[in-house]
């Protein structure tokens, strides 16, 4: 049901996800994140005021897609500890956003929590749209559960 730490090795690649971005996806992402900045739903504003080509995916929604991509791989026991991402270019309706990821590092901290550090690239064609580094806790074995960690036992 979930990825165990012992099955993860540095250099492992995550399955590719292809997301055909539509206006509905952009607007629904803005809605679900309660982000009503006009550049995420108003074409006229985006093109004439913000100077972009179209409406584009907002930051929280990209975080949501990234989390979904990561936990598709780990399963429900995978717990996101840290995420850092840099947007290189906006992502517009009509484009296909492709997610790829590679395990950069694995470690176990002093509390016994098992961590997997992953680098992701979200690309549109040949261009990198968003660069991501993420740190996830995964179970060491079937008796371990990162979600039960708190206080000094949770150090992302």
């Amino acid at each position: 049901m979930s990825l165990l730490f012992g099955k993860v090795q540095v250099g492992d690649t995550l399955p590719t996800l292809e997301l055909p971005v539509t206006a509905r996806i952009v607007v629904m992402g803005a809605s679900s994140s309660r982000d009503w900045q006009p550049q995420h739903h108003d074409y006229a504003w985006a093109t004439t005021r913000a100077g972009t080509k179209d409406i584009f995916l907002n930051t929280p929604n990209q975080a949501g897609w990234i989390e979904r991509y990561l936990t598709d791989w780990t399963g429900p026991y995978g717990r996101l500890g840290r995420i850092k991402f840099r947007m290189r270019r906006p992502v517009y309706p009509g484009e296909t956003l492709v997610f790829n990821g590679t395990v950069r590092e694995t470690s176990v901290d002093e509390s016994g929590c098992a961590w997997v550090d992953v680098d992701l690239e979200l690309t549109v064609g040949d261009e990198v749209a968003t660069e991501v580094s993420a740190r996830l806790a995964v179970p060491q074995d079937e008796s371990d559960n990162p979600w039960r960690r708190s206080g000094d036992d949770w150090r992302p």
């Binding site: 992402g29 982000d35 100077g51 979904r68 429900p76 840099r86 947007m87 708190s150 949770w154």
Partner: protein
Amino acid sequence: MSTDLEEEIAARTAPLLKEWTGKVLDAGPGDIECERGYITHWVESTENANPLYWDEAVAQNITGGWVAPPSMLSVWMRPLMFNPNARETVRPLEMHFRLKDAFELPEGIVTANEIVFGVPVRPGDVISTKQTVAEIGDVRTNRLGTGRPWTIDVTYTNQRGEVVAVESYRMFCYVRSAK
């Protein structure tokens, strides 16, 4: 070599740097509490099939009950677009907008974001934020326009005072380039 616009913005905003760097805004509790409807809309919009958010028995077993996806964090701080009981008009990430107003840089985008997650957010939680101007960068020009980058740090706590996350937004705020 700097442009006339870069020099104009630098001269106009340099006196503001000391006043604004390190400034803290206690934005208080958000307008909404965490609830399942918001969570469902989030996982709908990201086509996220993680059973933690769809199957209560799984959620009970793994997380001790429903939790919100960690990436939903900023949802809990955004003000309602209409609220008859609002004490004042507060914009999402209010400190950022106060900076934009003070620096007279009308456009802005998020260029980078980092979040460190603490205790999970659960239905019924109300999240408060403190927003701090961590850094204001030098004037620069890119394909969007001319302006300054800055970093806003946001600390999120629940109603028990537990830190649910610390988030850092890197922004670029600008005047559009003349075409």
